[in-house]
Amino acid sequence: MARFSAGKAPFIRIADEKNQGTQVIMRDFIIGLLPIILFAWYKNGIKVYLEGNVSFLEMLYPLVFILLGGLISFLMEGLFFMITDPKLRELKPLMNKISTSFALIPGLLLAMVLPLYTPIWVLIFGAFMGTIVGKMLFGGFGHNIFNPALLGYIAVGFTLIGVINANGGVMNQSEVLIDAYAGATPLSLLANIKTINYDQLVTPYGTLWNFFIGTIPGALAETGALAIIIAYVWLSYRKVLKWFTPLIYVGTVFIVSWVLGAVVGDGGVWFPLYSILSGGLMFGAVLMATEPVSSPKNPLGKVFMALLLGVLTVLFRYVGNYPEGVGTSLILLNIFAMPLDRFSATIRAEGYNKKSSIIKITLFLLFVLAIAAYAIIKANGMYTAGGII
């Protein structure tokens, strides 16, 4: 007699529908990346080509670089599966496995946050640190503590940035320095002059419109705020990411830096705008902070994480030694994602109107406020409003 009972309720699952499920999420994610990739290609390749500065082969390079990043991490994951699991040495099971483990994404993202003209071996090294060390050694997709792309980026950033600098290239005048660390990006300018003044921070790059479009120095794809916003709209429409996480993250940075700007400088709205449009904030908020595996699972936890990310980014950016604080705060909060998840899940399950929940939420918000206040007070001593002379 056949087995009497089969399968588990519910029998209608969204995942069974045509345009749902894990693979569809991956497809949607890659579609969401397209505008950013195209922007990176336009900024670093096509635009320079149209201005007549480079040859056709050179024009293709940014695109090839990003795609190579994806391919490298794909191959590495495949090799890892083949070496560790004898069952996966045939093409079909291997492809099934890889297609459900988002193999392309870490490499693509990594290539997008690295400067153009990073040597290929550095890219391979970064992909290795991200995919193998950061993802597969932790148990594969779904078990990684850190965002693989971010881990690769940090590994490259802390060990091989000199190599990238030595290879760093110039294509046209607007991008004398493409490298995020080398010193010509808006944020490192701020870190150098420690002055919050529109004429000194924004005018060298034109207007804030250039910041929005993305024609300012920075890594391959991180400057294109417009392209990232398009990706954000698509990804939240397809429900690949929760719409409020990037919004709260960017909003927190906006508000805290507005206060910071008002305390130190002239308090104009340009400073928070400058703050959210420069560096990798937009990119990190939309594509890194929403990475599902390494961030809290429940909505309240996501809100908590986004708030913390916002204030920590301001703290690391304006008070720390390095010009960019997005990567550091992300990797720090990746570690705390699990406790944060448990903390917020308990509050959520108990109900917000319970006394204990109110106390917990209040304490958390006070903590966030304390960090923000510390950042502002500290920055007040470090920055000046800056007049001429």
């Binding site: 399968g7 699952r13 999420i25 779904g142």
Partner: protein, 433 residues
């Protein structure tokens, strides 16, 4: 999203397929099988093999905290006591009755002379005599609710049918609108409630049309239109929406009783004609059969017969390639063989082709389950905590709040049976406690 208000998810109803044809009577199956099981309690058989039984004759007794008599649904000879499948997935003893197609009634089935003069206690007694238990799916003995010591002022008829596919309540109300209101009227009388509510989904405006002519006859009865979301028919949700009150364990704390629509109809029959629970409406639907429709059948009818009545399977499908879902698709149970018998809690059978095996994918932590949960739990956290065996954490995460609606599994993009893991966590609490 993150603000805590009652919520749910709209699921494609797929109800139209079984609404095309009207309710069909199928009152005389060849054999009926009366399961000797109600909820989790075994019944005491009171008839012997070879005995002749009439419709409405007591054949078994439920004992324990909710004692009920169980009645024969056709007249004929008890031919055997054998093990048959129950929709809960177990094999249980059942009384097999061979129908003699005479329709002989038991003596107790006589019209009541003056139903309106019955007292509360008499009505509750009738409820008990009818062997009435919740026809919605839980199978909870109905009279127990009406013995509540707390004051009850609202009786709610739950005809929401929030699960997809199922239309039996809708079809039954369509045919017997007055019986529903009568049943509700008697139910209100048996507990002294002043307010009666019939709740169903807003898009079923047809029901409003058929009920409206009878509403003036029964004072205190109103209509509540619910949103088209799942789980709108959840008892707690319904009471919260209608009475604006919430409760912890029992609906009576909020002064309300919720009953299924068909329960009310059976009760109306019982009060006026002394007909106990012998038949119910059932939906036979799904993509796997030619003509889905609803039936009014005696309890104990084999589903196989009903599938034949529906015109059989679609081309290229036979019973070996078919999945039979007993109950709703969200909370029911999939069964691979058609040896299924209609019992008191089986409101629908959905026949679908066996789906392809799915790739197993790791949890990617998208958090859609936490987002969908109507009681604001975080299923992944509960799952991890129960895997660690951390009972304290499971308790802190309020796993006991879960009502098993299945939405978390429903929305999971990775085909993970999260509902199952949460059930295990709940079992862990029970074991630990």
């Amino acid at each position: 999203m993150i603000v805590q208000k009652a919520k749910g998810i709209h699921i494609d109803g797929r109800k139209s397929m079984s609404k095309e044809l009207p309710l069909q009577d199928y009152l005389n199956p060849q054999f009926v099988y009366i399961h000797l099981l109600r909820q989790t309690e075994s019944l005491k058989r009171v008839v012997e093999v070879g005995e002749y039984v009439r419709i409405g004759q007591v054949v078994a007794l439920r004992e324990g905290w909710g004692p009920l008599p169980i009645h024969a649904s056709v007249s004929g000879t008890v031919t055997a006591v054998k093990k048959v499948w129950h929709s809960s997935g177990k094999m249980v003893d059942a009384i097999e009755i061979k129908n003699d197609f005479l329709g002989a009634m038991d003596d107790s089935i006589t019209p009541e002379k003056d139903p309106s003069s019955l007292t509360k206690e008499q009505l509750v007694e009738k409820m008990k005599q009818a062997g009435l238990s919740g026809l919605g799916g839980a199978g909870f003995p109905t009279f127990v609710k009406y013995q509540s010591k707390l004051p009850i002022n609202t009786v709610i008829i739950n005809a929401v049918e929030c699960e997809p596919y199922i239309t039996s309540d809708y079809m039954m109300i369509d045919r017997y609108p007055e019986k529903l209101l009568k049943g509700l009227h008697y139910m209100m009388a048996s507990v002294g409630a002043t307010r009666g509510v019939v709740a169903y989904k807003a898009y079923n405006s047809h029901i409003t049309d058929v009920l409206t002519p009878f509403l003036p006859l029964y004072p205190g009865i109103e209509i509540y239109l619910s949103k088209d979301i799942y789980p709108a028919g959840w008892e707690k949700y319904l009471i919260q929406q209608i009475t604006k009150k919430t409760y912890n364990s029992l609906p009576s704390e909020a002064g309300a009783i919720v009953n299924n629509a068909q329960t009310a109809m059976v009760f109306a029959d019982m009060v006026e004609h002394n007909v106990p629970l012998i038949a119910r409406g059932i939906t036979i639907t799904g993509e796997g059969i030619k003509q889905p429709r609803n039936f009014l059948v005696p309890i104990g009818t084999p589903v196989k017969d009903l599938i034949e009545q529906c015109g059989g399977y679609i081309d290229g499908l036979d019973s070996t390639k078919t999945n039979y879902i007993a109950g709703g698709p969200m909370t029911g149970r999939a069964i691979l063989i058609d040896d299924l018998i209609v019992n008191d809690t089986l409101g629908s059978v959905i026949i679908r082709p066996i789906p392809d095996p799915k790739l197993s994918v790791e949890c990617m932590g998208c958090g859609k389950c936490a987002d969908a949960c109507p009681v604001f739990l975080t299923p992944t956290e509960i799952w991890h905590a129960s895997e660690r065996g951390d009972i304290e954490a499971v308790k802190r995460l309020k796993a006991s709040k879960c009502m098993g609606c299945g939405l978390c599994s429903h929305v999971c993009p990775s085909h993970i049976d999260i509902t199952d893991f949460v059930d295990k966590a709940k079992a862990l609490i029970r074991k630990g406690a």
